[in-house]
């Protein structure tokens, strides 16, 4: 459990810092590295990667949107109606899911790689 939380925290923090300068997919590298060094079973590694970036992205998106009085999120939810049915909640979830899946699979890859040691 301790490792699980630690992995989440480290993945989130390193993703945050790296994304300030590098493209979004750097989260895969961050999640991979954290999972490589923090020993967990595959499922937990995936979950910690998934949860870390999902939370990071959703929370950051939410903060940006709140400061914007939600002007844009409503429009983009409408723009992507085919996926979101116009719901901003769905748009947040979609955002989180995308980051989470990439990060989760990268973490899974990291933990599988660690086992080759």
């Amino acid at each position: 459990m301790k490792n699980f939380l630690l992995a989440i925290l480290l993945t989130a923090i390193s993703s945050l810092l790296l994304q300030l300068f590098l493209p979004w997919w750097i989260i895969a590298v961050a999640a991979f590295a954290v999972a490589y060094f923090i020993k967990q079973n595959s499922l937990l590694a995936f979950l910690s990667g998934f949860v870390a970036v999902l939370l990071l992205w959703v929370v950051y998106a939410y903060l940006l949107s709140a400061a914007n009085e939600n002007i844009l999120v409503v429009k983009v939810a409408e723009l992507m109606k085919a996926l979101t049915k116009g719901s901003t909640t769905t748009l947040y979830l979609l955002t989180g899911l995308i980051g989470g899946l990439v990060s989760g699979f990268a973490a899974l890859t990291g933990s599988l790689a660690a086992r080759l040691k």
């Binding site: 992205w57 950051y60 400061a67 002007i71 980051g99 990439v102 990268a106 899974l108 080759l116």
Partner: protein
């Protein structure tokens, strides 16, 4: 197994990353677009975080301060003109970069670089009509004027200074959505932007359509349905004004017989024309008509309504000028506006400045064409298209002395051996920027005439008022001298001789002008510039306005003690003069015995109507729908896409309905029987009412005009989510408030020379970012017919407290 799992997991991860980083068709790359660090979330502008800022910029000469007021209008204070335009470029890019680029990409035929193959045909058309070619000619010409060049270069430097500091994170939203990035801003783009305006405004010719009509229906019908002038017309220069000059040098020597022969042709290709409602109003009253004793000037250009708006509001101050008004994002200077001494505005001149010539090529190589009995070489221009997601496409366009060959075997409906070249004033070398630069710092009437002198295209009616009390209006542009006897340029011309070739242009001094007329006002609304006594022949068959002009002149003639409130009301006037003249005639033709009784209340509503297309009017819904249907069925002979024609104008249509009950045109082609006037008018009424009922189901639930018309201010990439939909307001074509479903007054301006105050509004907002509070914040004000008083001051100290933030820029 360990390795297999690892490999599988790695592949899934990589597949996710690649897929989410790639654009599929219209679908943006989700990873790039949705991540909150660089994706669209970053464009969610913080509504409160406006902070003063300071920066050092490469290429500035001196310090510039920019004060943003509570509508995000920048007040730029520079110490020299170069810095002023540098900053205009910088600030415009900051708020409108994507729009600037997409408009010039469109003009240059480069949309397929972003949008892919779907845009290729429209791109080809842009190049084939010589948009890029014309822009290059203009740019070369501008470069010969050192001052213009210097200032345009400064503007571009400013735009590029902004672009250079951009990172993917702060790209405008549309770049993220369409997944591409901004490119450097070059002087050619300034020229392209003006060509874009020319392509919207100086394309009112119907050579092909007229030729098709006269071939199909004969000369007698043509004379009747397309008169050069009509009774009760009210031109820009008041009837009876004496002309100071005789016409000089008319160029065509063609005989009437030759012309007739040319007319027996049909052409399947014609260029689509802009929406018929495109046009504008402007007027200025002098001190004899105003409360203050000083002139008041008004202008509202009617264009396609868009977000971001075509206009960007600015206040530009340097030691040589203090000017305020509407700028075109991408071009330096104020286009419509006022300074501390004068004000000016524009409406479009509907005059024909584009002619089509039928060429004869020697052989299938199309390398040589016949001209005065000799073979002349064409010049080839190969146009390259870097189509996104497809192979590069090359297109050869042949240029002749009559301009580019637009239609040939490779473009347009295949029509063997009908090669059409296009001569257009937008291809002439010209420097429109200079006109606006001079107007921006103009002090009086003579500065105004001097500024206009060289203005070429798109031809405009420039209205003018000065603080010292003058009002004037001049139709300015370059107009070819045309032969009246042969109606040169009204039909497709013969490109095998010089007989119909342009040889000279009407001297600028001879362009229609009205200065301080006795009636105390000048005005224009895209009508005839003059009556038929004007010494030079011109035509604008079918496009000259017939209603707004008369309504404007009627109001201004009666107006006394006019003030700004009066003008506000007038610009938003919804009186439908056309309906007043057409409806009684239409009602008279109704065969009441044939009318479905459920539709009779609609007739009562129309009879009781005061002819105002106010948003809450129901009668306007019935009338407009009926008229549209009637027009469709009355002129159904002209809807064959392979034989394009222009439908006669409203005045002619009313006259036909009034005076002729049996014309062949009443017949509805798709029915077996032969309809007469009353049958067609009745039929169209029934049909229109059925359409209304199928939409609203019950007579009582028919909505009002504002809801029915449901004006949309559409995003430039046609994204509904970024558009203002269902904007509730009145008006329509032919009405001073010329707002239909998609077009309308794109900028309303009133300038009171007495108080030196401007009142402006436009249906949009200062920011081009859909994620900004200032993206569409003025739409509601515009729809209500209200205005903002401009913060027009000489010194920053006088700007007052209504200020969002201040930017200070210093040289690096």
């Amino acid at each position: 197994m360990k390795y297999f799992k690892l490999l599988l997991s790695l592949l899934i991860t990589l597949a996710f990353v690649v897929a989410l980083n790639t654009k599929f068709g219209q679908i943006p790359p989700f990873g790039k677009f949705l991540n909150p660090f660089t994706g669209f979330w970053q464009n969610a502008e913080n509504v409160k975080a406006w902070k003063d800022e300071e920066a050092n910029l490469d290429g500035l000469k001196d310090e510039v301060k920019v004060y943003f007021d509570d509508r995000l209008v920048p007040h730029v204070f520079a110490k020299n003109d170069e810095d002023l335009y540098y900053m205009q470029g910088f600030i415009t890019a900051k708020f409108r970069l994507w729009q600037m680029e997409v408009q010039t990409h469109n003009a240059a035929g480069r949309v397929s670089e972003v949008a892919g193959e779907n845009a290729l045909e429209s791109d080809r058309l842009q190049r084939r009509i010589g948009m890029q070619y014309g822009a290059e000619a203009a740019q070369e010409f501008i470069a010969k004027d050192p001052e213009s060049k210097k200032l345009i270069d400064a503007y571009c430097k400013g735009v590029n200074a902004y672009i250079k500091n951009l990172t993917p994170k702060n790209y405008p939203l549309e770049y993220k959505l369409l997944d591409y990035k901004p490119e450097e801003w070059q002087p050619i783009k300034v020229a392209l932007l003006l060509k874009n305006m020319a392509n919207m405004l100086s394309v009112y010719e119907y050579d092909i359509e007229n030729t098709n009509f006269i071939t199909t229906f004969g000369e007698e019908n043509f004379r009747k349905l397309y008169p050069d002038y009509w009774a009760g017309d009210d031109p820009i220069v008041p009837v009876g004004t004496k002309w100071s000059s005789e016409a000089v040098g008319s160029s065509s020597q063609q005989s009437n017989t030759e012309i007739r022969n040319q007319k027996s042709e049909m052409y399947a290709n014609a260029l689509q024309k802009p929406d018929e409602i495109n046009g504008s109003n402007n007027w200025a009253v002098n001190g004899t008509k105003t409360k203050s004793g000083k002139p008041i000037l008004c202008n509202d250009p009617h264009l396609q309504l868009s977000l971001p708006s075509i206009w960007y509001e600015m206040h530009l101050v340097s030691p040589s000028m203090n000017v305020y008004g509407a700028t075109l994002p991408g071009s330096p200077a104020v286009i419509i506006g006022f300074n501390d001494s004068i004000s000016w505005g524009v409406t479009n001149a509907g005059r024909d400045v584009r002619d089509w010539y039928k060429l004869k090529f020697k052989d299938d190589t199309r390398n040589e064409y016949e001209y005065n009995g000799q073979w002349m070489k064409t010049e080839m221009r190969v146009e390259h298209y870097k189509v996104r997601g497809a192979k590069e496409f090359n297109d050869t366009v042949r240029y002749t002395r009559f301009g580019p060959v637009v239609f040939d075997e490779t473009f347009g409906v295949a029509e063997n051996k009908k090669f059409l070249a296009m001569r257009w004033t937008a291809h002439l070398p010209s420097n429109e920027f200079k006109t606006f630069y001079l107007l921006n710092q103009g002090k009086n009437y003579s500065d105004y005439t001097n500024a206009l002198k060289t203005y070429t295209c798109p031809a405009q009616n420039f209205v003018f008022a000065s603080r010292s009390g003058d009002v004037a209006i001049k139709e300015q542009g370059k107009f070819p001298i045309r032969n009246k006897a042969t109606e040169q340029g009204k039909f497709v011309s013969d490109g095998t001789t010089n007989k119909d070739e342009w040889t000279d242009f009407i001297p600028s001094e001879a362009n229609p002008l009205s200065v301080n007329p006795e009636r105390g006002f000048v005005s224009s609304a895209n009508q005839h510039p003059t009556d038929s006594t004007y010494p030079y022949y011109y035509s604008g068959v079918g496009v000259y306005e017939q209603f707004r002009n008369r309504r404007i002149n009627e109001i201004l003639t009666e107006g006394k003690e006019i003030d700004v409130e009066f003008m506000k009301k007038m610009q938003n006037d919804n009186y439908n003069l056309f309906a007043q003249e057409a409806l009684p005639v239409m009602l008279n033709c109704l065969d009441m015995s044939q009318i479905n009784s459920a539709f009779k209340p609609a007739i009562e509503k129309m009879k009781a109507w005061g002819y105002y297309n106010n948003p809450d009017s129901k009668a306007a819904v019935y009338f407009e729908e009926w008229w549209m249907t009637l027009r469709e069925w009355l002129w159904d002979e002209m809807l064959d896409p392979n034989n394009p024609m222009k439908r006669p104008n409203q005045v002619v249509t009313i006259q036909l309905l009034q005076t002729d009950s049996t014309s062949d045109f009443y017949d509805i082609k798709t029915t077996r029987q032969k309809e007469n006037r009353n049958q067609t008018v009745t039929y169209s009424f029934q049909l229109a009412m059925q359409n209304i009922m199928s939409k609203y189901h019950h007579p009582d639930s028919v909505t009002d005009w504002g809801n029915h018309k449901a004006t949309r201010v559409a995003h430039l990439a046609k994204q509904d989510a970024f558009s203002s939909l269902n904007v509730y307001n009145g008006g329509n074509i032919g009405i001073i408030n010329a707002t239909n479903g998609t077009h309308g007054p794109s900028w309303r301006m009133i300038v009171d020379e007495g108080s030196m105050k401007g009142y402006v509004v436009y249906p949009g907002g200062q920011s081009g970012n859909p994620g900004s509070k200032y993206y569409d914040n003025m739409v509601a004000t515009w729809a209500k017919g209200e205005y903002f008083e401009t913060n027009f001051v000489a010194k920053p100290e006088d700007l007052g407290v209504k200020r969002l933030f201040t930017s200070t820029y210093k040289p690096k």
